[in-house]
């Protein structure tokens, strides 16, 4: 593996939800014991249904939310140990792109001011002309006409707003970008453009990227590796190709079987694994394996013990008691 940028160790984010009026609290385990690493120039896709804690995970890594437990190590430095000022300084390397492109832009500011904000914050000595030149350069790179610099967000389409968001994230030449569902609020016709823009930027700048999405079809397109999350827990983590060709975890298998295949003949022959039941409330997750209420292979042990994260082989890990007994590919899936 090339230079390791980010190491996430056993990260948990629990929210205390007040219950009733007696000041009691109930933990909501949004993220529970997630670990992974990320190398420079690599994209890790994080998939899971909505409410599985993937956005919380992204924010906890950037320390926009304080993690309850675990460590985030950035270039050998644990972020949790940093003072507020040092962390603020590090933020120039860590950026984020949001899901709702319009909501992420201050409606009272011009596009130019929005894109320049990180630059002005981290390089306060920069003159106006220099700022403007940098803003125009990044606008051009993200596919925005530099003439639009004095426009306001509400005059833009969703796709353009997302380009502005990306330009703002890119202006300091960060090392890591967390993309939180960057295309799911956009028109289907625009999604591909934005995904391609992100991939192009990543390739040309050697960015590390965390690509968070509920849409496996998009994630598989951009990611080198994929992490599957369910109710805040890591289910399976593998190279993109391995995960798609030979998913080991029952949940991953179900996710993959739900992705439509562009070939109608194969699509018809394919057997879907339909998940029964509702996604359990994260307030009241099932005991043992959190997936057991919907898992077609669940056994009594699944309710008793939390499955450990075990290596299938190098770079492929899984949290399931029965992975060794279960078939490697979903029956008649993508084959």
């Amino acid at each position: 593996m090339s230079e390791q940028l980010l190491r996430v160790e056993d990260l948990s984010v629990h929210f205390a939800l007040p219950t009733g009026f007696l000041g009691g609290h109930r933990p909501l385990k949004a993220v529970d014991g997630v670990s992974f690493t990320l190398a420079a120039g690599e994209t890790l896709g994080i998939v899971g249904e909505s409410g599985c804690g993937k956005s919380t995970l992204g924010r906890a890594i950037l320390r926009l939310i304080e993690p309850t437990a675990g460590r985030v190590v950035w270039q050998g430095q644990p972020l949790g140990a940093l003072a507020a000022d040092a962390l603020r300084g590090l933020r120039r390397d860590l950026q984020i792109v949001f899901q709702d492109p319009l909501a992420a832009l201050d409606p009272r500011m011009t596009i130019g001011e929005i894109i320049a904000e990180p630059l002005v914050t981290h390089e306060p000595a920069l003159g106006r002309a220099a700022i403007r030149a940098r803003v125009e350069a990044i606008m051009a790179e993200t596919g925005l006409l530099p003439q639009l610099i004095n426009r306001y967000p509400h005059e833009f389409s969703g796709g353009q707003c997302q380009r502005v968001g990306i330009a703002r994230a890119m202006i300091l030449q960060p090392k890591l970008i967390v993309c939180d569902e960057p295309v799911s609020a956009l028109d289907v016709s625009i999604q591909a453009q934005i995904v391609n823009l992100l991939m192009r930027l990543q390739a040309s700048h050697g960015l590390a990227m965390l690509f968070i999405s509920h849409d496996l079809a998009v994630v598989r397109h951009v990611s080198h590796r994929i992490l599957v999350l369910y109710l805040g827990r890591l289910m399976e983590l593998a190279e993109c190709h391995d995960l798609l060709a030979a998913p080991r975890h029952p949940y991953t298998q179900a996710l993959i079987s739900a992705v439509p295949i562009p070939d109608p003949a194969r699509e018809r022959r394919k057997r879907r694994i339909v998940l029964t039941g509702e996604l359990p409330s994260p307030l009241d997750p099932p005991s043992g394996c959190v997936f057991r209420t919907r898992c077609p292979h669940a056994r009594p042990i699944c309710a008793e013990q939390i499955p450990r994260i075990e290596p299938v082989r190098f770079g492929h890990s899984i949290a399931c008691h029965r992975w060794q007994e279960l078939p490697a590919t979903p029956p008649a899936a993508l084959a």
Binding site: L64, A103, A104, R108, G112, P118, T121, L148
Partner: protein, 297 residues
């Protein structure tokens, strides 16, 4: 909206966008009622400021030979005179001075306290927020008119006391509005984006939160001014307002109401000034609300 530019035109000048403020201003200018209101308010304010130069009579000069005289152009008593033989036109304008000043200053006081208090509570959140807002709730439940009357009795009739008392009542609502707005703005993604960019808290408040909270505050401000004027009139009507020979619209109306039958001009002129002003502020406030309302966009 089309953003396509004729390619090759090599247009180096940036296209100017229209900010939300400019948009709102434009919408306001399209609202005829609001424009008329603004013009009328400007005229009334100008008249109040220029009062000593608009009439040959001083506001406290008593003309013994013309007590309760009807409007009379020969002596330049355009609105007639009051029960003490003072020129009503000048007194109405001096009343405007006091009423408008009370309205604006008390609103200013409430704005200052309310915005600071509300934004602090909203931004800090949590326990501090709920403590601060419980205090507001507590104050709300107080019979304030009673307190104002008590204050007047204890400290005597003092115009500054009126400002302070009215401002102290009005800031409660302002604080609630600002806190609510701050809470909702604070949760929006662009605030998180600013955090992610490493912007300091103080900068986030001044650069992002305050400009986004300002719209509703301005609307509420234009609606507070007439409310304060009305409260002041009410206090004056009860005889707790400004000290003679100074006057306010409330005092004039109170005197006029007593002479309604014998000298109707004493009621009609100050009352119409008050009514027009209140209407104008309300129309302006409505116009501003429509203009600033994001749902219209």
């Amino acid at each position: 909206m089309s953003l396509a530019l004729p390619d090759g035109s090599e247009q180096l000048l940036a296209i100017e966008g229209r900010s939300l403020w400019q948009d709102a201003w434009r919408r306001l200018l399209r609202n005829k009622a609001a424009i008329v209101a603004m013009i009328l308010l400007a005229i009334i304010a100008a008249m109040a400021v220029l009062a000593p130069w608009l009439s040959p009579h001083p506001y406290d000069e008593i003309y013994w030979e013309r007590i309760q005289a009807p409007p009379d152009f020969a002596n330049q008593h355009w609105f007639g005179t009051d029960g003490n033989g003072r020129d009503l036109f000048v007194r109405t304008l001096y009343g405007a001075r006091v009423s408008l000043m009370v309205g604006i200053l008390a609103t200013g006081v409430s704005l200052l306290i309310g915005v600071l208090y509300g934004a602090t509570a909203g931004f800090l959140g949590g326990r501090i927020d709920s403590l601060m807002m419980r205090f507001v709730d507590f104050m709300y439940s107080m019979p304030f008119m009673f307190f104002v009357i008590l204050l007047m009795v204890v400290f005597g009739r003092n115009i500054f006391l009126i400002f302070v008392a009215l401002g102290a009542v009005e800031w409660l609502t302002m604080a609630r509005i600002v806190r609510g707005q701050t809470l909702s703005v604070k949760r929006r993604d662009f605030i998180e984006a600013a955090h992610a960019a490493g912007v300091r808290k103080r900068k986030i408040i001044t650069r992002h939160i305050i400009p986004n909270v300002l719209g509703p505050v301005i609307v509420y401000m234009t609606l507070t001014i007439p409310q304060v004027i009305l409260t002041e009139s009410f206090l004056s009507f009860l005889g707790l307002g400004v000290q003679e020979p100074l006057t306010s619209w409330g005092v004039l109306i109170a005197e006029g109401a007593q002479q309604m039958e014998s000298a109707p001009w004493m009621l009609i002129f100050p009352a119409s000034f008050l009514a027009v002003t209140l209407f104008c502020f309300n129309f302006l406030g409505d116009g501003l609300r429509d203009a600033l309302d994001p749902k219209d966009r």
